[in-house]
């Protein structure tokens, strides 16, 4: 009944012409209008003469039936549900001064008063008086909770309540039922209302300039109150309670946020980490840091324009294009468990084994903080260099920067790690600074900055001094690169990279001291590796091991035949990959899949049949005939 009435209220703004031809609705509209007028009258401030002077003689108070009915009639559906499940909650709202009736400010209430001497009367009471009396006589247990939701104690109360986010329809229904029955719930909803009220008043203040001073002061007070309360709420607490308090009347509406299979909702609800899409959004918006609102706006954009993800969201020209659309990425990310709080550059890194090995180490938290920075290349290479060092095999590191010494005219080479870093000694930029100094081209150790050819404008003042590294664009990947070094506006030196970054992702030879990336990771990072021989084992591993991921290597021509078409017999381009999720559809199994060429934030859903074909054919062509499919945990 209430929901019917409330939906009638929502239709209040329909046109007169509509109502003129709908007599039932017209009479309903009149009912709502007259109720509003009644409530305005009932709840308006009472003149002082009508207010009772002593409350000590009162034994109990109740709202008059007509007052109660009118309040319930006009209350939003979400609140009505709360009032029904816990009758004291209405009075919590009244006492907390929650203006839950839009446009009606409640100052007084029409109440039936019973005095200690047995007499009764109906009178308008100021809301504070009524609340004090009502909680004293009718909701004394509920009264205890006011003290727990004061600004000072709010944070601890929320910590004690430990909000657990639902994860499916069943847990959501359970959560809804539990929260409806908790005595603290109306108090928390009242605080949420105050936060939201502050936000809406801020928007009002910003949109309207002609607000008189007294009203402006009142609005500012409400904004301050909302902000003060908000500091006690974590994002997770606020998001959950806000959804609960406004949607509790409908299980389907409330649970559509939690039983969802859409990554946008999961991130919005803090059920999935924001990094799953925030890195993509940073690139799309061009902002290095995103506020929560900016992230939400971006998520909405991705949801409403799924084609956006086909080209955008990865570093330009760094990943296999087109990427899946946003809906498909969402489907994959919901199932994905790979920890991806970073962004890398597969094309510039140029070896899909290094890309994949780095992603594995990042997933298991095995990348040292020392190498982390914003460069999308350096941390990957530095992590690989780290495992060489840990294995005491840095002597086998093949990458060097070389130059012809201006004095001796002989080639000089220095070990380096591709990519740039402000302090890491072996980072490309720092090695070049050292070369400039040791070859006496620079009198002091100068910081060298990397810029591309298009950015270098010799006529500009800033380029007339300092050290600038300009890679040769045409064939410059991070492992094979020639660079021009400009020092104080003059071309000072040509530096070139030497050494092929030929690292096997998995073992390819027996009796060799040169170990594969997987072997080194297993040995130095305490990551357990097990062979996976069947689809059943793969599914079992992914579902049973909380952090477990599967890695493998297969022929690109079988994994992505649309991208890599076979051109001659038995062509196989070995391509490492990571699988971190599984789903069944129409009796077929699909995996969440990222090859070392894919953007880390744009996983694809690949059928098992393609993966099986790629591994099986790869094993026939592999030097050791290995079945390249391993579970890592």
């Amino acid at each position: 009944m209430i929901s019917f009435l409330i939906s009638g209220q929502a239709n209040f703004a329909w046109s007169e012409s509509f109502f003129s031809s709908n007599s039932i609705l017209l009479s309903f509209e009149n009912l709502v209008k007259s109720t509003i007028l009644k409530v305005r009258k009932q709840t308006s401030p009472e003149n002082s003469s009508a207010i009772i002077t002593s409350i000590n003689n009162i034994s109990s108070v109740e709202l008059t039936p007509i007052q109660l009915e009118n309040l319930l009639l006009l209350a939003p559906e979400g609140y009505s549900e709360l009032f029904i499940s816990n009758s004291c909650s209405l009075y919590v709202f009244l006492k907390e001064n929650v203006q839950f009736l839009n446009d009606i400010e409640i100052s007084s209430l029409e109440a039936n008063i019973q005095y200690k001497n047995g007499s009764t009367e109906t009178k308008k009471l100021p809301i504070e008086t009524f609340s004090t009396l009502y909680f004293k006589h009718k909701c004394s247990k509920q009264n205890d909770y006011f003290g727990q939701t004061t600004p000072e104690r709010m944070k601890k109360t929320l910590e004690r309540e430990k909000i657990e986010l639902p994860y499916d329809d069943e847990s959501c229904a359970q959560s809804l039922s539990t929260w409806k029955s908790k005595l603290i719930t109306p108090h928390l909803c009242a605080q949420v209302w105050k936060i939201n009220n502050g936000k809406s008043k801020r928007a009002l203040l910003q949109s309207e300039s002609n607000i008189e001073i007294s009203r402006r002061a009142k609005l500012n007070e409400e904004i301050r109150q909302g902000e003060a309360i908000e500091t006690s709420f974590s994002d997770v607490d606020y998001t959950f309670l806000n959804k609960f308090c406004t949607k509790m009347y409908s299980q389907s509406l409330f649970c559509s946020n939690y039983g969802t299979n859409e990554i946008w909702k999961l991130i919005e609800n803090f059920q999935a980490p924001a990094y799953k899409l925030s890195w993509k959004c940073k690139i799309i918006t061009g902002k290095a840091n995103l506020s929560r609102i900016e992230l939400t706006n971006c998520l909405n954009k991705l949801k409403n324009n799924p084609e956006t993800c086909e080209l955008k969201g990865a570093f330009p020209n760094e990943a296999l294009l087109p990427m899946p659309n946003c809906q498909k990425i969402s489907d994959a990310l919901v199932l994905s468990k790979l920890v991806t709080d970073y962004h890398d550059c597969p094309r510039t890194i140029s070896n899909s084994g290094i890309v994949t090995a780095y992603r594995i180490m990042k997933h298991f938290g095995k990348v040292s903080k020392e190498v982390e920075n914003n460069d999308c290349v350096f941390p990957a290479y530095a992590s690989i260099f780290d495992i060489f060092k840990e294995s005491k095999e840095q002597g086998k590191w093949p990458l060097k920067l070389c130059y012809i010494d201006p004095v001796t005219k002989k080639e000089v080479c220095e070990v380096y790690v591709p990519g740039n870093h402000p302090s890491y000694t072996l980072a490309q930029n720092n090695v070049i600074s050292e070369i400039m100094y040791s070859s006496r081209l620079s009198p002091i150790k100068t910081k060298c900055n990397v810029i591309n050819n298009g950015e270098y404008k010799p006529e500009r003042l800033k380029f007339r001094s300092g050290c600038w590294i300009i890679p040769n664009e045409e064939s410059c990947t991070s492992e094979k690169c020639t660079m021009k070094i400009i020092f104080d506006g003059k071309e000072a030196l040509n530096i070139y990279a030497k050494g092929d970054l030929n690292f096997p992702f998995e073992k390819i030879k027996y009796n060799t001291t040169f170990r594969s990336l997987l072997q080194m990771i297993e040995d130095t990072k305490q990551i357990e590796l097990q062979e996976i021989q069947s689809l059943t084992s793969a599914k079992f591993f992914l579902t049973q091991k909380k952090s477990g991921i599967i890695v493998g290597q297969g022929c690109a021509e079988d994994i992505y035949p649309q991208f890599f078409s076979s051109k001659f017999p038995s062509q196989c381009s070995p391509l490492p990959f990571i699988i971190d999720g599984v789903k069944e559809l129409d009796g077929k199994t699909y995996f969440v899949f990222r090859s070392g060429l894919d953007d880390v934030h744009s996983p694809r859903i690949v059928p098992w049949t393609n993966i099986l074909s790629s591994i099986a054919r790869h094993s026939k062509l592999h030097p050791l005939k290995l079945w390249s499919f391993y579970g890592l945990n």
């Binding site: 030929n502 649309q562 017999p569």
Partner: protein
């Protein structure tokens, strides 16, 4: 002699474990090591060890290319003479980049002479075997050389700079070069280039980034496969005479609304391609379009075909741990089921 014996025991056998009706291509040694077989002089190119390409003929066996480290080799035959293009990618299990160039050589089985042509991927001969082309992904250039003037490489620079884009190239002659490229909005198109005048005509441009093209040609016309990157997409195949520059004059050969296609190749009489079909496009088989009858046939039954190759006119499908022949010893199609889509877009081969 041992090498020759290995080749002689190549045979077809009915697969014991698979449900397929196709004949399995078997040998005592790893069948995947065979890189090319040609009838002339019983020529076989095969992988020896992990780093050497060897050749066996009626008369003798010899190593023709030895590389440092484990390497991949590809062999492409000239349709009209005894020359072959050899592609070799060193350390391919270590460099782990499908888009990295390999070495490309021209080899003559009669003279045993090997000429290094350059670096790139996807080397191929044109229809009459007089022009060699390949793509250099690092420099974004299609390189082509006329066999009579190998020392003079000619190049076509692409507009696309995307890592995943590998162009299709069909060179009829210098005046009729077809290739695919992408514009700055990542949309793909088919371009016809008269290299002598450098006049370019965009034959067709895709309307979205999901559409891709493949091309192959015979002596009279170019065939264009227009399809979607997603398996559940569409397939069109049409032909355009080499003398035509106007795509409205094209001849539609095949269309399917449910299931994209890839790896098209053609001869004078037939067009082959792999096509997805079925609910959610979960199946993929090798298809054969007969140009004369304009009928399409499904010629495999493996459910999940991802690639195929040809040794001269013989077609084989590598499938997981095996390789299957789609023709029997008499060169008839082992499986040939006419493909039709009904009005509900349901595919009636499954």
């Amino acid at each position: 002699m041992v090498l020759i014996r290995m080749i002689l025991i190549l045979t077809y056998s009915l697969s014991t474990f698979s449900k397929t009706q196709l004949l399995e291509f078997t040998a005592k040694q790893n069948i995947f090591n065979i890189k090319y077989i040609a009838k002339e002089n019983d020529t076989t190119f095969y992988l020896k060890g992990n780093d050497t390409l060897a050749l066996s003929t009626n008369y003798k066996a010899l190593e023709i290319l030895k590389q440092k480290g484990i390497s991949e080799f590809g062999v492409v035959k000239n349709p009209n003479d005894s020359t072959y293009l050899i592609f070799s990618k060193q350390n391919n299990f270590e460099s782990l980049s499908p888009l990295l160039s390999g070495d490309i050589y021209l080899f003559n089985t009669n003279s045993k002479k090997m000429i290094m042509l350059g670096n790139g991927i996807n080397p191929k001969f044109n229809t009459d075997g007089t022009i060699i082309s390949y793509f250099q992904p690092e420099l974004n250039k299609i390189i082509f050389r006329k066999k009579i003037n190998l020392d003079n490489p000619l190049e076509i620079r692409l507009n696309s700079k995307q890592m995943s884009f590998i162009p299709q190239v069909e060179i009829v002659d210098e005046k009729n070069i077809y290739y695919t490229d992408r514009n700055n909005d990542y949309k793909e198109g088919v371009i016809k280039l008269d290299f002598l005048t450098q006049k370019r005509i965009i034959l067709i441009k895709s309307e979205n980034i999901q559409t891709r093209f493949e091309i192959c040609s015979n002596s009279k016309e170019v065939n264009i496969l227009e399809t979607n990157i997603s398996p559940t997409g569409f397939t069109f195949i049409y032909s355009l005479a080499h003398s035509e520059n106007d795509l409205s004059k094209r001849n539609f050969l095949f269309d399917s609304k449910s299931g994209s296609s890839f790896q098209m190749s053609c001869s004078e009489k037939e067009i082959f391609f792999i096509k997805y079909f079925g609910d959610n496009a979960v199946y993929s088989e090798l298809f054969r379009f007969d140009i004369a009858s304009k009928k399409t046939f499904v010629i495999s039954d493996l459910d999940f075909v991802t690639n195929y190759f040809k040794f001269e006119e013989n077609i084989y499908i590598p499938f997981r741990r095996n390789i299957y022949a789609v023709q029997n010893k008499e060169k008839n199609w082992t499986i040939s089921k006419e493909f039709k889509e009904n009005l509900n877009d349901e595919v009636n081969v499954k």
